[in-house]
């Protein structure tokens, strides 16, 4: 028996190709998902537009004129019309992408790092440590996120930094909760016991087996929060708690244009359309990522 198998093992020439790693596999599968790829392409275009805004925008976004106020879409020279102060909408939307993306994207990775650390500690320790951490988190979680963001921004005062801080604080409990529940599940699985049975220390188990299995799901959840973050950020600006005029930001633009909603509804809705497109692209991309990371499929 053993001789026969040894022979088979020797006669088969095995191409020793390096097996693609987990993330390589995920990328490969993701690249085959048309919806996720289109969403990613739109996100990339938006980011590029935001970076090169001064070169792309046809006009200065803060320069208005009383005689050009509220031109409809399709006006020669102003394809997307002008706003209530006669500023070119196209230029303002292009420049607005900068602040909107910053406010949408920045809070999530910060909250991801802090929230998953808290959640993994709570999930792995269990018992009283878990109860202490998670009940504190629950206090924050009890507030609707919009209310919490508004309350925090209101307390901290308006401005970009404060808005970013309050959005981060809003997301930490949500991410911590997901991290805690995934860690609690993984901690009880056989392979953690098996690692312990083969002599792995607690540090090794957390670093190798817990992190390896837990970061993926938390990461997917975090990417889905980017769209929420954008909408919340726009909401804060709309309420005057985020960016201050005359800076261009989509949420703030929605606010200042709301007086024109009856006279010029299409122009007034444009910033909302941009928020919608961006957040749905982030959502679709995170959906694609979730599917691609499902190892069993």
């Amino acid at each position: 028996m053993s001789a026969v198998t040894a022979e088979i093992g020797a006669s088969v020439v095995v191409p020793v190709a390096k097996s693609p790693g987990f993330w390589r596999n995920v990328l490969r599968r993701l690249s085959r998902d048309p919806v996720a790829m289109i969403a990613l392409a739109i996100i990339v275009i938006l980011v590029l537009v935001a970076i090169f805004a001064p070169y792309i925008a046809p006009y200065d976004p803060s320069k208005g004129s009383v005689i050009r106020r509220l031109k409809p879409m399709g006006t020669p020279g102003y394809p997307l019309g002008t706003d209530e102060l006669g500023r070119d909408m196209l230029s303002r939307l292009i420049h607005g992408a900068r602040l909107s993306l910053i406010m949408g994207v920045i809070p999530v990775p910060i909250a991801f790092i802090i929230g998953s650390t808290i959640g993994i500690i709570a999930g792995y320790s269990g018992g009283i440590v878990n109860t202490l951490i998670m009940r504190t988190i629950d206090v924050f979680y009890a507030f609707p996120s919009v209310l919490l963001a508004v309350a925090l921004s209101g307390a901290l005062g308006s401005g970009l930094t404060n808005a970013l801080v309050s959005l981060t604080v809003v997301f930490i409990p949500q991410i911590a909760r997901v991290a805690e529940s995934v860690t609690t599940q993984v901690r009880k699985l056989d392979y953690v016991d098996a690692a312990r049975a083969s002599g792995a220390s607690a540090a090794t188990i957390i670093r190798v087996h817990i992190l390896g299995n837990v970061l993926g799901p938390i990461f997917v959840f975090a990417t889905s929060l980017i769209s929420v973050s954008m909408i919340l950020a726009s909401g804060l600006s709309f309420l005057g708690l985020g960016v201050r005029p005359p800076d261009a930001e989509w949420g703030l633009m929605l606010n200042t244009l709301r007086t024109a909603i009856y006279s010029n509804p299409f122009v007034a809705a444009l910033p909302g359309v941009m928020i919608f497109i961006t957040s749905i692209c982030f959502n679709l991309f995170s959906d694609g990522l979730r599917t691609a990371m499902d190892v069993k499929s």
Binding site: T5, A6, V12, A195, A197, S198, G199, T204, G212
Partner: protein, 320 residues
């Protein structure tokens, strides 16, 4: 005779979760010599897995372990956290029931085996990789170079169990604990895995504790059988003695309940009743309520495990 490799004396394990403490193991004594295979036989919840996991101290927090356990001359209950990490995997290792759940899904099998080797032997990754390859050849996994780079979900249950075994013997342990290693596999693969374990056991002179609820498997692989019921050993002896001449009524019941004996009949013979609640054990023999031969004394006194002849012992008033 030399000292036994594993010497468990009067082991009791109590889980203190929930409202009532649950006594999963109640004074088990068992010794296994070097190079010997002992099968722990019993139904679900009889404490066989708990007994075995105690040898690696793999219990959740808040579990009380009483009694003494010595493995290879070391007192397991006294080991510090660091000594325990050195002991697990290097002196005693374990094969789990469900290989699919016992291997980490996000790492290749090679990475997982190498990790264990590096941890205990402190060799370079290259050296660990070549040892892993040798182990895969040892457990007869075809095209081992390629298989080492596979993730667990890319392999069949039998292959995964072979990998588990390769990982278990990676650091030359003296004792192998096998927790129903063939239960999750289909029948044709089961026998191959049993033969493999038996073969490796002989080659390396391993002491093996083999937990199973399948008498056929126990007979196939073991030198001795210990039958457990409600956290106690009720009968112990050489395989042939226990199977041909069972003494304890529970062992007789188990042997009578085999599928092979139900040939042509439409119903299996079963032991009436259900195992007792481990949170509220009866004062006497735990099997007495289900036993057809019970007498008044069975309901009040716990029978001690007493030797009937040189190698066998039984815990029943009929033989006391």
């Amino acid at each position: 005779m030399t000292d036994p490799m594993i010497d468990i004396r009067n082991l009791s394990v109590t889980f203190n979760r929930g409202r009532k403490p649950v006594k999963a193991v109640n004074g088990v004594s068992l010794s296994v010599n070097s190079g010997e295979v002992v099968a722990l036989l019993g139904e679900s919840g009889s404490g066989k897995s708990v007994t075995m996991r105690s040898l690696l101290r793999l219990h959740p927090k808040g579990t009380t372990i009483e009694g003494s356990m010595r493995v290879a001359g070391k007192d397991v209950t006294e080991l510090s956290a660091r000594e325990l990490a050195d002991y697990r995997g290097a002196t005693v290792s374990m094969v789990f029931q469900e290989p699919r759940l016992a291997l980490d899904p996000v790492y290749t099998l090679g990475q997982q085996i190498e990790e264990a080797i590096i941890r205990h032997k402190g060799v370079s990754r290259r050296e660990a990789a070549s040892r892993a390859l040798g182990l895969f050849e040892k457990v007869r996994i075809p095209s081992p170079e390629r298989r080492l780079m596979n993730y667990p979900h890319e392999m069949s249950g039998g292959m995964l169990q072979r990998s588990m075994i390769a990982m278990a013997i990676a650091c030359n342990p003296k004792v192998l604990l096998a927790d129903e290693p063939t239960t999750a596999l289909d029948a044709t693969v089961q026998i191959q895995i049993l033969l493999l374990i038996r073969e490796l056991q002989k080659e390396y002179g391993l002491s093996v504790i083999f937990v199973t609820h399948d008498i056929g498997v126990a007979a196939e692989v073991a030198d001795r059988i210990a039958v457990m019921y409600a956290g106690r050993i009720v009968e112990e002896g050489k395989v042939a003695d226990v199977i041909q001449n069972p003494k304890h009524p529970y062992t007789k019941g188990l042997l009578g309940a085999r599928v092979e004996l139900a040939h042509g009949r439409d119903r299996l013979i079963t032991i009436p009743g259900a195992p007792p609640d481990l949170a509220a054990l009866p004062p006497g023999c735990a099997f007495a309520p289900r036993c057809g031969e019970a007498v008044a004394q069975c309901l009040t006194d716990v029978p001690r495990l007493t030797a009937t002849d040189g190698t066998a012992s039984v815990a029943c008033v009929k033989y006391a």
